[in-house]
């Protein structure tokens, strides 16, 4: 299910129909590296921008002799200033993500990996540089990076029950995408996002939930255990807990939403019962917005 090749191929299939994701770069100055993002002004890059008359101070080698030969003046060929965006992906690899309520549903982890991989493919196709938090390497572009991300995503779940983003080497003014169920303690998430906001990093939070976690369809005397078995809660009448559980879940979502708004991030909640396409579209939009 989670073998690298399989994940890669499924992600390719999902990413196929979308146009290349061209993320907007706002503050590019410090992360200037050649990429496919035209800045609509002259600078360093591959694409032709304009010819202008040579001015004093221009180097002789910058003169475009072919253009200049057609007229009396000298012209300099300017190129468009291009920059690539850096995007950091964090996929929660904790035990809780391995949950799937029905055999015909994918686990939350599978869905999160799929979305992450699809986003990575879209961005690399668009010329962006992508890093996976689990890899710990700086953002890179190219197909090889995709292979690395795919194999890192296929590595499997960690031992802890609930995951928290732990990100080093976050480049300032880059972009980030966090995929998790956010069922654990919210404090590390908050801390991480605050840190990111300090560095001018914008991003998106995608909360991946199982439909059962939304519905809480339990009755009777039940002992609930977390996936790793570290947490347990016993109730005599599970049906009575439903409304309070749902309240808490709603509060959790509201907290995440507020946190995102405060830090300039985007937040959505995705269910494994829904189509991943919708989520990917949302991610595409979220990372592209804010011109």
């Amino acid at each position: 299910m989670t073998s690298a090749a399989d994940l890669r191929s499924r992600a390719e299939a999902l990413a196929g129909p979308l146009p290349p994701l061209l993320a907007e770069a706002e503050h590019l100055a410090s992360t200037v590296l050649l990429g496919a993002h035209g800045r609509r002004r002259s600078g360093m890059g591959d694409e032709f921008w304009q010819y202008r008359a040579a001015m004093p101070g221009d180097e002789a080698r910058s003169i475009d002799w072919r253009r200049s030969a057609r007229s009396d003046a000298h012209f300099v060929r300017e190129k468009e200033w291009q920059a690539a965006q850096s995007i950091l992906l964090w996929v929660d690899a904790a035990q809780s993500m391995e949950f799937a309520s029905r055999p015909d549903l994918t686990s939350k982890a599978d869905r999160a990996r799929l979305l992450a991989m699809a986003s990575a493919i879209l961005m690399i196709r668009g010329g962006e540089r992508v890093a996976l938090a689990a890899l710990g390497t700086p953002p890179r572009s190219g197909e090889v990076q995709l292979m690395r991300i795919a194999s890192a995503l296929g590595a499997g779940a960690g031992a802890e029950d609930y995951g928290a983003p732990e990100i080093r080497g976050m480049l300032p003014h880059s972009r980030a995408l966090f995929l998790s169920d956010f069922m654990g303690d919210l404090a590390p998430v908050e801390a991480q996002m605050t840190k990111a906001a300090d560095r001018g990093v914008r991003g998106a939070l995608v909360q991946v939930l199982d439909p059962q976690e939304e519905a809480f369809p339990f009755e009777g005397r039940t002992i609930f255990e977390s996936m790793g078995g570290t947490l347990r809660h016993e109730t005599l009448k599970a049906g009575d807990l439903r409304s309070r559980y749902l309240d808490r879940l709603a509060a959790r979502k509201a907290a995440l939403s507020d946190l995102a708004r405060a830090t300039g991030w985007q937040y959505t909640c995705h269910h494994t019962g829904d189509s991943p396409q919708a989520a990917l579209l949302w991610i595409y939009g979220a990372l592209e917005r804010r011109r």
């Binding site: 809780s96 993500m97 949950f99 309520s101 029905r102 939350k108 609930y162 169920d181 069922m183 654990g184 199982d210 059962q212 976690e213 809480f216 369809p217 339990f218 009755e219 009777g220 005397r221 039940t222 002992i223 609930f224 255990e225 977390s226 996936m227 947490l231 347990r232 809660h233 016993e234 109730t235 005599l236 009448k237 599970a238 049906g239 009575d240 807990l241 309070r244 559980y245 808490r248 879940l249 959790r252």
Partner: protein, 919 residues
């Protein structure tokens, strides 16, 4: 036995266990249901939440109640509850169960047997020996006392008989009984002379209990035919209450199926023992009736078989002059035909042949002389009961028959010449008819005013004339005379059988007279003397329930017994056939009267009803099981296992119980819909998958061409399985020949022939460009001959130049497919097809050729794939494409020919039409 209201218990001590129920209540209450463990990541959100109610850890009261009820039901069930426990009257000693076993028992035989079973059960519990005896089937020797169980198994073998017990036999048998025993007597409720004596004899051996059904005994007397009506009489034993009895006439309908032909209701007034009902049946229907029965009553007495008395007659007609060239209305037999055809089977022919057929009546219309040999035979036939009816006429009047000496075949002597009244050359008025005297077979018929006689033959006054005359004119001259000879008679009408001499044949009276005559020929019941010495073979017999059965190998009975008509073991009721007629012997005779049985006051007559004790054990145990199932479901639901996750198994079981098995759609209907909502081309499935695919693709290509170029817009072609599919939907069948195809079954060939005869067309394609030269053909050609041999194919010829196929849409002279052979064969034109001067083609046959036979592999030329590209190359280059185009055109012509027939052939009439229009 401990009883509680209507319920008794066989093991009442077990009920003490009910006392333990409250303890169980407390125990169950204390134990909460076991928890389920669930993995759930959302548990992090649940931490710290507490349950609101503390009471829910106990089992809810209603669940406890279900469990209590289940346990209580188990306890009560094993305590052996019995509904209506019987307080048995203990008897002792052997028990004799006596059944009348007559037809009157048959109506409620099942209840009688049930009552006997109940008595046997009691006897079995008390350990008594039992003998069951049917009075119509008396055992020889000692009473067969056996254990009650043995008799239970044999009860099914005892059946009611379609007669009553014989008094002598019964009393003789009863007198020989010995020992002490108790008697149960199941009486049929009819009075019998021997009942009192038998009762006294039984009482000398021990106590007697008598059982009788309160149901009235109803029976049918034989149907009588009176005045054109069939009269049936219902009789009954008890006459207290008013009642209605539906009487059904049953017989074979024209298709030979027995059904109810008529029904009437007889109203039995209070106090009346019988009621008549008359059915007015058309003769045709009356002839079909084989029996009357009381509807809904199963008893031999309620069935009355009918015999020849109600049957249709066989009448032979012989005319003196055979003037077929004369006018039909003047034919001497015309009015006889008209009058007799609806009610009688008419035969015509020579006298010798007719006598061999032994008809019921022979009619001579103006026949004067009969040869002596024939005369002798006719006399013999009349002697045996034949009816000779003679009509006068010019020939008879002119002959010397019965002039001086009475002819044996004439009832009276005749005077010379006859007379004419009211004619142009005579005085007087035409004479009317005198009302029919009493004693005449026509007595009671109304004489219409307009029946007049203008000419007749005159009888010589004789001493016997008065008694022989059965109808006379106003002036007293005999019009119809009759003479009896042996069992038969000779009747002479002194007028013609047509309207020349009188208007009698024109009136309805004629028909009535003929009917009366035909009926009165045979007495309804022959006397014993008449039947003496004859043997009658049973054809159908009745059993006690009134079911008609084939007689099988039952021996014949002497005529005397039949005439006596007393049914018994020697003469079962039924239909007996003699030499020329059949005779019904019924349980109930004309004079049978039913009387209810009467018992002395000391005998209490009991009904048949039994208050059977009902064992309730299984009910309680089933209820307990049901409650436990309910408890299981409720527990599952309560603990969330039914509605929550992983409830798949339970949900699956419930779904399995609720959903039925989906019914498969009717493939034939689907095919019919597909084939008839649009025009479709079809090909025969040969069994060669590749060939079938090509054929289908070919028809698809042809369909698309048709769609594009013509107003024929076919849907997707259909592959037809000759064995299973209906062919009549398809205008055209393309049949590529493959040596791999199995020969179709006979049914398939029948279907194909029907298809060809009703306008279908089959295109045979041997696909080898060679077959048209029959005989020297290839493998496929031989296969074609083999396949087509059982088909109904007309003579063939190669397509002539002026065949309508050459011009139905395109003008063609070549019919290529992938191969371009000229020889394509169609139905041959008739030899007399004429070419009209100035026309380009002959006036050819109508209709569509049922077959087209060729070997050009048309389907391959037509075939396109799903993208619309040709599947196979044809020829080379441009000429190849041209050949494909011509192949397509041939296909278009073919379909047009099938759909429009010879419409293009009608162009030969164009000049004539133009001429008529004045152009």
């Amino acid at each position: 036995m401990f009883t509680l209201g209507p319920i008794g218990f066989t093991a009442p001590l077990l009920l003490l266990a009910l006392l333990a129920l409250p303890i169980l209540w407390l125990l169950l209450r204390a134990v909460p249901p076991a928890p389920i463990r669930r993995r759930f990541p959302g548990v992090a959100l649940l931490l710290g939440l507490t349950d609101d109610e503390t009471q829910t850890d106990k089992t809810p009261w209603w669940l406890l109640l279900i469990r209590m009820l289940a346990v209580a039901a188990v306890i009560i069930g094993f305590a052996g509850p019995v509904l209506n426990p019987e307080e048995r009257v203990a008897g002792s000693g052997p028990l004799l169960i006596l059944m009348d076993g007559s037809w009157a028992d048959a109506r409620d035989w099942a209840r009688r047997i049930e009552r006997v079973e109940a008595a046997l059960d009691d006897a079995a519990q008390e350990g008594r020996t039992v003998a069951v005896v049917s009075l119509t089937d008396l055992p020889a020797g000692e009473l067969p006392f056996q254990s009650a169980d043995a008799w239970s198994a044999r009860l099914a073998g005892i059946e009611p008989r379609p007669w009553q017990a014989d008094a002598d036999d019964v009393l003789q048998w009863a007198a020989a009984l010995e020992g002490r025993f108790e008697s149960f007597w199941m009486s049929d409720g009819l009075a019998q002379g021997w009942r009192g004596d038998l009762l006294a004899m039984l009482e000398s051996h021990g106590k007697v209990r008598v059982f009788e059904s309160p149901q009235p005994v109803i029976a049918l007397r034989p149907a009588r035919f009176e005045d054109g009506l069939v009269t049936v009489t219902a009789i009954r034993a008890r006459a207290e209450n008013a009642d209605e009895v539906a009487i059904a006439a049953r017989g074979l309908d024209p298709t030979g199926i027995e059904r109810e032909l008529a029904r009437a209701t007889a109203v039995l007034e209070a106090g009346a023992g019988d009621a008549e009902v008359s059915l007015s049946l058309p003769p045709e229907l009356r002839n079909r009736v084989t029996r009357f029965e009381v509807a809904g009553l199963r008893s031999a007495g309620a069935v009355s078989l009918t015999d020849d008395a109600l049957k249709r007659r066989e009448v032979a007609l012989i005319a003196g002059r055979d003037d077929r060239e004369g006018l039909e209305l003047l034919s001497p037999l015309h009015y006889l035909h008209q009058a007799l055809a609806p009610t009688a089977d008419l035969i015509e022919g020579t006298l010798d042949d007719i006598l061999l057929a032994n008809p019921d009546a022979i009619v001579f219309a103006d026949v004067a002389t009969v040869s002596p040999g024939e005369s002798e035979k006719i006399l013999e036939w009349i002697d045996k009961g034949g009816l000779l009816v003679r009509f006068a006429g010019p020939r008879l009047a002119a002959s010397d028959v019965s002039r001086d000496i009475e002819d044996p075949l004439m009832p009276v002597r005749l005077r010379v010449g006859g007379r004419t009244v009211g004619g142009a050359m005579s005085w007087g008025e035409p004479k009317g008819l005198r009302p029919f005297p009493e004693g005449s077979p026509f007595h009671g018929l109304q004489v219409p005013e307009d029946v007049t006689v203008s000419a007749q033959v005159m009888a010589q006054p004789d001493p016997t004339l008065a008694e022989r005359s059965i109808a006379a004119l106003d002036d007293g001259t005999p019009l119809v005379t009759r003479k009896r000879i042996g069992a038969g008679q000779v009747v002479l009408f002194h007028v013609t059988a047509n309207a020349e001499w009188s208007t009698l044949p024109l009136s309805g009276l004629f028909v009535q007279i003929l009917e009366r005559l035909a009926i009165s020929t045979r007495p309804a019941r022959p006397e014993a003397a008449d039947l003496a010495g004859t043997i009658w073979v049973p054809e159908k017999v009745l059993d006690g329930f009134g079911t008609v059965e084939e007689a099988g190998t039952l021996p014949g009975r002497p005529g005397e017994a039949i005439a006596e008509g007393v049914v018994g073991p020697d003469l079962p009721p039924g239909l007996y056939a003699g030499a020329d007629r059949s005779f019904a012997v019924n349980v109930i005779r004309e004079d049978t009267v039913l009387e209810p049985s009467s018992w002395p006051a000391r005998i209490a007559v009991e009904g048949l009803a039994v208050a059977r004790e009902t064992d309730l054990k299984w009910m309680f145990l089933s209820a307990a099981l049901a409650l436990l199932m309910l408890d299981m479901l409720a527990s599952l639901w309560l603990s969330g296992r039914l509605t929550g996750p992983r409830s798949g198994l339970a949900a699956g079981l419930v779904a399995l119980a609720l959903t039925g098995i989906p019914t498969p759609g009717d493939a034939q209907d689907e095919l019919a819909l597909r084939a008839t909502s649009e025009v479709v081309l079809a090909h025969v499935i040969t069994g060669d998958a590749r060939l079938d695919r090509v054929a289908r693709a070919g028809l698809l290509g042809l369909s698309e061409t048709l769609y594009a170029r013509t107003s024929v817009e076919p849907a997707e072609p259909i592959s037809v399985d000759l064995e299973t599919d209906e062919l009549s939907f398809f205008p055209i069948l393309y049949w590529p020949i493959s040596t791999a195809q199995p020969i179709p079954s006979d049914e398939a060939y029948a279907k194909l022939n029907r298809y060809l005869r009703t306008g279908g067309m089959i295109v045979f394609d041997t696909r080898d460009a060679d077959i048209a030269r029959f005989g020297t053909g290839s493998e496929n050609g031989r296969k074609l001959q083999e396949l087509a041999r059982p088909l109904d194919i007309p003579p063939l010829e190669p397509i002539p130049e002026d065949h309508v196929l050459t011009r139905t849409f395109y003008l063609l002279q070549d019919f290529p497919g992938r191969h371009a052979s000229r020889d394509v064969w169609v139905e041959a034109a008739p030899a007399d097809a004429q070419r009209i001067e100035g026309m380009p083609f002959r006036n050819l046959n109508d209709g569509v050729t049922p077959v087209v036979i060729g070997g050009n592999d048309w389907a391959a030329a037509w075939a396109v794939d799903e993208m619309g590209r040709a599947m196979f190359p044809v020829g080379r280059g441009y000429t190849g494409e041209r050949q494909r185009e011509i192949a397509m055109r041939f296909g278009v012509n073919l379909v047009m020919h099938v759909l429009t027939g010879n419409y293009k052939s009608d162009q030969v009439h164009v000049p004539a039409l133009l001429d008529r229009l004045g152009q």
